[in-house]
């Protein structure tokens, strides 16, 4: 399917009260992808899935899809970030324990620190991404006249670089800081085990040649030292 962020987003946003039927109509089964297909073939089978979002709003989902598709474009190495399940991945992460602040020291007072003192905001990851996406879209509208996901690919690239450089003027928010976490989320989701939803069909593992599980190399460590080894990757789900 052609990359149609605008149409899809409008559709979701406009769903409103009539959304149930629409959403039901949109929900197709995830196509399983046979081994040995090219990424392009996989991309076709992995047409943008209309996964229901647990926590992301339509605007947030559109933003993340656009960012992930820029970080991870569809090419000979893998389908696009969205088609790899990255938005689904992040939606589940933000809706789950990590997103809502598990394993995160949240006692006050919250003071501004030096960069070396690390994260010092009161915001949970879910709140951080909500605020960051809102700030990024706000900046995008001021700069380009539209939301980030409606920019053309070259503008998205430029916008992300501006954020990365800390030069996007976000209100009350450091764009570099937001960018870093956005970027980190992409790398985590893309390369994590497929059980989390963001590395559908193990595309990233195939891309680099990571064999995944079960990682029992006792008999291979010496034999394949310095030699190429071709092991079709297996994931947690494959061995469960």
């Amino acid at each position: 399917m052609v990359d149609q962020p605008i149409g899809r987003r409008n559709f979701l946003k406009g769903a409103g009260a009539a959304g149930t039927a629409a959403a039901a109509a949109m929900t197709g089964g995830l196509s399983a992808c046979a081994e040995g297909q090219t990424p392009a073939q996989q991309a076709q089978q992995n047409a943008p899935a209309s996964e229901p979002m647990m926590t992301l709003t339509p605007t947030e989902a559109a933003f993340l899809g656009a960012a992930y598709d820029t970080f991870i474009p569809a090419d000979q190495y893998s389908p696009s970030g969205t088609d790899c399940g990255m938005v689904v991945y992040m939606d589940r992460q933000l809706a789950g324990a990590w997103g809502t602040g598990a394993r995160f020291y949240r006692a006050g007072p919250f003071l501004q620190g030096k960069p070396e003192q690390g994260y010092q905001l009161a915001l949970t990851p879910r709140e951080f991404f909500a605020a960051g996406i809102a700030a990024a879209n706000d900046w995008s509208r001021r700069t380009y006249g539209k939301d980030f996901d409606r920019l053309d690919p070259a503008q998205r690239e430029e916008a992300l670089k501006t954020m990365d450089a800390g030069k996007a003027e976000f209100t009350d928010f450091n764009s570099k800081y937001f960018f870093d976490q956005l970027y980190e989320s992409a790398m985590e989701g893309f390369f994590a085990d497929p059980i989390y939803g963001g590395n559908r069909n193990k595309v990233s593992w195939k891309m680099v040649g990571y064999p995944g599980l079960p990682a029992t190399y006792a008999s291979k460590a010496a034999e394949y030292r310095g030699k190429k080894i071709n092991l079709p990757p297996q994931s947690i789900a494959d061995l469960s």
């Binding site: 769903a15 009260a17 959403a23 605007t59 919250f110 010092q120 709140e127 700030a135 009350d172």
Partner: protein, 588 residues
């Protein structure tokens, strides 16, 4: 690292019903207004969309739209002799959060209070004798009358597009309406909602007993409606997802639907979300508040917003907390009864009568506002002579949804799991009903709010400590009106009726409500109230404190409509009197 913002005319702390109405009225009068909201930005379009808005687990059980207790919570104890412990999860009641506040997740029940409630102390002493009110019940008059507020009730009902039927139109009693209500100057802006099957059953039984059944006034709109702000309210779909949920159809009146869109277009207004107000900048000597100090949760920065006028429009707990943290007014002392800040915290006393019928109820077709109610046992609408308590409440039929995790009663004696439980659940899911006896909660000397000495919130402020328990008046009142509900349930012909009046200590999940009042109460005397009849603070003439916090006691009716009316009333006093001549509007 503190930063000071450009001076503005007014700042509103908290952007729920009170804050958004106040901000709107002040900008109309030409003032520049900043609205500070602790929670996040939200809108129907972004946050309450199909299909995910129908997620019972997420919104009702996991309380998605409610305040995160790790940001802020309260501590509770039953008595001043005990150690209060924090609500680590919301078990007593949840509190709202985010733009629109509790006005987003409410059910939509929109009662005006009974006229007698505004002069409760005078009324009760007049009718039952000078010493009729027990010494430990600091019941007070409000300082305003129903007639004072009537035009502002009317304004709020028109803002919210309330659906209902007048029972007293300019003094004329109208059949089918609530004959006990105060005189109304106009009919409700929308017709009543469609009566549910449960409502019809209740109507038949209660009318048969001689009671006066009327459609519960609802902010779930019976028809599309454009309010005086030019904003459109949609038509209620009877989806059964009001309380704890946002409304995707824009059919439940909320600040997000009825006011905020107009404010966001208003150049005089600036909204700042994620702004966690830490304290007010109070000049004790000048008796003025100079501004508001808040933490920008996005940057962690401490920011001062100077303003000529500061309007506290947060929840009662936060209004009280901010007065205490800013050292404005004397803290209430339960031993001496002196002091005002934190005084007369009140809740709601709710009893339930459950029953089972053969009719097909279709509980999933419902709105947050119950279909029908009676006010025959409300307030002082009945003689309390010899009853041993004061106050009362309305009795209404349940029917705000059939969400299956929570709404599936089985008759007493049914096992709690296994095949027999499944059988009963399948059998009764569509045949169970309940009546709610929604009672008042009158103040008690040892029910109050202050600062917890131990526990702190996420920005390091003390938590509010609630010292509260139900008292003799509450138990007796609840037993009485719940019994009336049981009689009505029996009159439906139901063979199985359960009775659950309010018993035992405050706590547990039965009959809870997110209706909290008091802490910064209004009155005529600075010794016994925190704000005057215009909700102007006695200690700082440029500080107004609006909301349920101003109620001297909780009536048997739901609080929201009166919050809206008080916001309009106070806004009118500011724009028509205060701005012309800033200073105390009432001289003590």
């Amino acid at each position: 690292m503190a930063k000071t913002m450009k001076h503005v005319d007014a700042v509103c702390v908290g952007m729920g019903w009170a804050g958004s109405i106040m901000a709107r009225e002040l900008t109309k009068a030409g003032l520049t207004v900043v609205g500070l909201e602790r929670g996040a930005m939200r809108s129907t379009r972004e946050n309450f969309v199909m299909p995910t808005v129908r997620d019972e687990l997420k919104y009702r059980l996991r309380l998605e739209s409610m305040l995160d207790t790790s940001t802020e919570t309260i501590t509770m104890r039953h008595d001043p002799s005990e150690t209060a412990l924090p609500q680590r999860r919301w078990e007593l009641f949840p509190l709202g959060d985010g733009l629109g506040g509790a006005g987003v997740h409410w059910n939509g029940i929109t009662f005006r209070f009974s006229p007698a409630e505004f002069q409760l102390h005078s009324h009760l002493t007049q009718r039952y004798g000078k010493n009729a009110i027990p010494a430990d019940m600091p019941i007070q008059d409000w300082g305003v009358t129903y007639d004072d507020l009537e035009p502002y009730y009317d304004k709020f009902e028109k803002l919210a597009g309330v659906s209902g039927k007048a029972g007293n139109l300019n003094g004329q009693i109208i059949p089918g309406g609530n004959p006990f209500e105060g005189r109304r100057s106009s009919e409700y802006p929308n017709k009543p909602l469609v009566m549910s099957q449960g409502g019809l059953i209740f109507n038949k039984a209660a009318s048969g007993l001689g009671y006066h059944v009327f459609p519960t006034p609802a902010s779930n709109s019976s028809a599309p409606y454009t309010n005086p702000e030019g904003l459109t309210i949609g038509q209620c779909q009877y989806c059964g997802h009001c309380e704890f949920f946002g409304c995707e159809a824009n059919a439940k009146a909320s600040p997000l639907v009825c006011v905020v869109p107009a404010l966001l277009q208003d150049k005089k207004f600036e909204l700042r979300t994620n702004a966690h107000v830490a304290r007010l900048d109070y000049d004790k000597h000048a008796k003025k508040v100079k501004g508001v100090v808040y933490i920008d949760r996005l940057s962690g920065e401490e920011i001062t917003q100077p303003a000529d006028l500061v309007i506290l429009t947060a929840y009662p707990f936060n209004n009280t907390l901010l007065l205490r943290l800013s050292d404005i007014g004397e803290a209430y002392d339960p031993h001496t009864g002196k002091g005002v800040v934190g005084k007369n915290y009140c809740y709601q006393t709710i009893g339930i009568a459950g029953f089972f019928v053969e009719d097909e109820i279709n509980p999933w077709i419902g709105t947050g506002t119950s279909a029908a109610a009676i006010d025959d046992f409300q307030s002082d609408n009945f003689d309390h002579g010899g009853l041993g308590f004061f106050g009362g409440g309305y009795i209404c039929i349940s029917g705000s949804g059939g969400r299956p995790i929570q709404v599936r009663a089985t008759p007493p004696g049914t096992p709690r799991w296994g095949t027999a439980w499944k059988e009963a659940t399948a059998k009764y899911y569509n045949h169970n009903l309940s009546l709610m006896a929604h009672g008042c909660q009158y103040p008690h000397r040892t029910n109050y709010l202050d600062l917890d000495p131990t526990y702190k919130d996420s920005i390091g402020r003390p938590l509010v400590r609630m010292t509260f328990n139900f008292k003799d008046n509450d138990y007796k009142m609840s037993a009485y009106i719940t019994n009336k509900a049981v009689e009505i349930a029996r009159a439906t012909g139901s063979k199985v009726v359960t009775s659950l009046p309010r018993r035992g200590n405050f706590g547990g999940i039965n009959g809870f409500a997110s209706h909290h009042t008091g802490g910064a109460i209004m009155g005529t005397d600075p010794k016994s109230s925190a704000v005057n009849r215009y909700l102007q603070n006695w200690q700082a003439s440029n500080l107004f404190v609006i909301g349920g916090s101003a109620y001297p006691q909780a009536t048997g009716h739901n609080p929201t409509c009166t919050i809206g009316a008080l916001a309009y009333w106070s806004a009118h006093a500011i724009t028509s009197q205060y701005l012309k001549s800033p200073g105390a509007l009432v001289h003590a």
